[in-house]
């Protein structure tokens, strides 16, 4: 029974995630940016913009300037999450890609640093007066959800030792649209359920910061207003 429920849940969650995200990205893409508003000093060329965006996305450059605690915890969490995600690719590839295999031990310990980063961020949200003031219940729940995912994952890795072969078989079948057997493990259920919830809320929550950063005009525009005329379609209408 759990097999069927989880299979359906993941089809649903994946669909929500993909469709929701594409819809959002499409909206951002199609909404015009009528004025050039890069936060200056800004790169004057497209290559420069790519570099600025890369520094922003990979190193969190602006956050580094803003606050070292938030930066270190935030960066630790995101970098760890990236490793953990890479590690999880082994469940979806057969044979496992070479670089994914190489990343396995790193990904295992990244789970720990991910949890550490999350706790650091949560501590900041709880104990720094300003951050507590701006936090909504959903901000705390989001952290709770991520902590739940990380903690249940770590529990399976280091303590209960889930049947990873069984899980892999389940997802290999799932990808072929057939329902295999899912190991009957309550910790695994919690882990998968939390991940499904995360996928569903991703396109309708603040997790939209992930695609959003690439569309942020103050970061993705080149500083060249005098050299090239920039005009949105709705603004050009006024000249007719």
């Amino acid at each position: 029974m759990a097999d069927i429920l989880f299979a359906i849940l993941f089809y649903f969650a994946t669909l929500m995630f993909v469709v929701g995200l594409l819809y959002r990205i499409n909206t951002y893409w199609r909404t015009p940016a009528p004025l050039l508003i890069p936060t200056t000093p800004a790169p004057t060329t497209q290559t420069g913009v790519v570099l600025r965006m890369t520094r922003e996305v990979v190193f969190f450059e602006s956050l580094f300037k803003a606050n070292l605690w938030t930066w270190s915890m935030g960066w630790l969490f995101h970098a760890s999450l990236a490793l953990v995600l890479v590690r999880h690719l082994r469940y979806f590839t057969e044979p496992v890609w070479g670089w994914v295999a190489v990343a396995q031990p790193f990904g295992m310990y990244a789970g720990l640093t991910m949890l550490l980063g999350l706790c650091g961020l949560w501590a900041r949200r709880l104990f720094v007066e300003r951050i507590r003031y701006i936090s909504t219940p959903s901000d705390h729940l989001m952290l709770a959800l991520l902590v739940g995912i990380a903690a249940s994952g770590l529990l399976m890795t280091f303590v209960t030792h889930a049947d990873v072969v069984g899980v892999k078989n389940f997802f290999q079948s799932w990808m072929q649209f057939s329902i295999g057997a899912l190991p009957g493990d309550p910790v695994l259920y919690i882990h998968l359920l939390s991940v499904a919830v995360l996928l569903v809320i991703f396109p309708i929550s603040k997790l939209l910061h992930a695609p959003g950063v690439f569309f942020s005009p103050s970061r993705n525009q080149a500083d060249n207003p005098r050299e090239k005329r920039h005009i949105a379609a709705w603004a050009a209408e006024m000249e007719k």
């Binding site: 009528p34 200056t40 000093p41 938030t70 003031y133 729940l141 939209l208 950063v213 942020s216 920039h230």
Partner: protein, 509 residues
């Protein structure tokens, strides 16, 4: 305004404790019916303000990618929370950039997102009630659109964009701010923000010619409406009469004189400032900018140079090409922009900042200075927010920081920097920008100046600084008012071209 007291300097400039509601009651005067209607807004708060505000918000969300992305992307990380000068000075948590944005984001979530419609409490979504609207009016008129928060935001969220959208929504339901809207009326009716009519302007300029003649013995001209002049100078109208602004106007004229440049002012476009940006209204922004295009075409000028004004330079540098075609690189089929761009001389950047003009002339060796004339000054430089974070000068990123400093160093011997966390891209707003330079907000203006005053005090104590140069009309007016409240001489503030004016050696060209 003697009853307004300066807040004490922070012993260690760390993040202040929160004082919820500290600035709650503060509201600038509301625009009268006459003022609003003169610029096409409803005279007073309309009956169906709720529906119209939400509709306008939806429209803005579909027209401005910035607003759309900024409403979605914030994760409440708090990177911006201690970066606003108004928060530092007032300690009111709603003056934290993220909290200011959330005043609008909460409404966005309620009406435009699924979780906000289903679980408003959970995600901090709110109905747009009259209380919320009043809160918008109060706190979106406590933001100077200086963009300091956007430097630190990991997603580049710019509160200025949110403030502009909020003011636009408020204007669209008849809840406009008197100071900005009255000024926009004046610029259309009379030609400049101060409401100086053409004849008064001509008188002032003639008086200036006499003053300069008396002081230097040289006939420096201040030409007006000269057809066929090479350079059209667009400068903030405060330069025509306010102190210390006028000393910089004299500086520009001396530079033009010494380099033998043919130039003119315009009586019709006697204003560089563009308050259309402050209220976030594209139509007004465009309409005000169009005056410059029209005058440039009418006079047939080859170059457009902009005087010392912060937000005006942002509008000129970043928006004029978009709004009016003052610039380069228009599509060959773009007849509107080509009409003007064909006339302009593209060996020079269009528009050109007066500092770019002067620095270019200094580099070419066309100007010489008696630097000792500025020896009475120990000078520091206050980067104006809109120049620093919303524009550029020269050919390279950051030219807006280097060029004014280069000029100061070329015309004076004593220059020191203020603390690096408060200059260049991290500069603090003077506290009076973005449509807040009005006496009904003096309390806010004094408190907002705190972070700048603290670091000015440092260089005064350590280096004996007695002159803070800046290139913005609003900075000059704001500091002139606020400096005495912090115990400084009001004449501590002045323009970069005021220093140029002191030191320039005029030939007999």
């Amino acid at each position: 305004m003697a009853e307004v007291a300066a807040p004490p300097y922070r012993v260690i400039p760390i993040v202040p404790a929160l004082k919820p509601g500290a600035m709650e009651g503060l509201k600038p005067f509301i625009a009268s019916e006459k003022i609003n209607e003169a610029i096409g807004f409803p005279g007073q708060l309309v009956e169906d303000w709720h529906d119209r505000a939400i509709a306008r918000m939806g429209e803005l969300l579909s027209k401005y990618r910035s607003l759309k992305v900024y409403m979605d992307a914030c994760v409440h990380c708090g990177a911006c929370s201690d970066k606003c000068h108004y928060f530092i000075g007032t300690q009111d948590p709603k003056n934290m950039p993220v909290a200011r944005q959330d005043l609008m984001r909460s409404v966005y979530r309620r009406y435009f997102t699924l979780p906000g419609k289903l679980f408003p409490k959970l995600v901090g979504a709110r109905d747009l009630t009259r209380e919320v609207l009043d809160e918008w009016y109060s706190y979106f008129n406590q933001c100077s659109e200086c963009r300091r928060c956007s430097v630190f935001c990991p997603y580049g969220i710019d509160t200025a964009e949110v403030t502009m959208a909020a003011r636009e929504i408020l204007d669209s339901v008849g809840y406009g701010q008197k100071y900005s809207n009255e000024i926009i009326g004046k610029v259309h009716r009379i030609g400049n923000n101060l409401g100086l009519p053409g004849p008064a302007l001509t008188d002032t300029l003639e008086g200036l010619e006499e003053d300069v003649k008396d002081a230097t013995g040289i006939d420096v001209r201040f030409p007006m409406d000269v057809k066929g002049a090479d350079v059209l100078l667009i400068t903030p109208s405060a330069d025509f009469f306010a102190e210390p602004h006028i000393d910089s106007l004299v500086g520009y004229a001396k530079v033009f004189h010494a380099t033998g440049t043919s130039w003119t002012l315009s009586s019709m476009a006697s204003e560089a400032g563009n308050f259309g940006m402050f209220i976030g209204n594209y139509d007004q922004l465009r309409k005000i900018a169009m005056r410059i295009r029209e005058v440039a075409l009418e006079l047939g000028v080859k170059r457009i140079v902009v005087g010392e004004c912060g937000h005006a330079w942002r509008v000129a540098y970043s928006f004029w090409n978009t709004l009016t075609g003052v610039g380069d690189g228009a599509d060959p089929n773009d007849r509107f922009a080509q009409m003007l761009q064909k006339q302009l001389d593209h060996r020079y950047k269009q528009p050109t900042h007066i500092c770019e003009f002067t620095w270019d002339m200094i580099e070419r060796g066309a100007l010489s200075f008696n630097k000792e004339a500025n020896d009475k000054h120990i000078i520091t430089f206050h980067d104006s927010c809109n120049v620093a974070r919303g524009s550029r000068m020269g050919d390279f990123a950051g030219g807006q920081f280097e060029i004014p400093r280069n000029i100061i160093k070329a015309v004076a011997n004593n220059f020191v920097e203020m603390s690096p966390e408060t200059t260049r891209e991290q500069t603090f707003c003077c506290g009076g920008g973005g449509g807040l330079l009005t006496d009904d907000l003096i309390d806010l203006r004094v408190k907002g100046a705190l972070p700048r005053m603290e670091v000015l005090q440092q260089v005064v104590d350590e280096h004996g600084v007695n002159f803070m140069a800046t290139i913005c009309a609003i900075c000059k007016a704001q500091f002139t008012k606020v400096l005495p409240i912090y115990g400084f001489d009001r004449r501590t503030v002045g323009g970069v071209h005021q220093l140029v004016s002191n030191a320039i050696i005029l030939g007999d060209k």
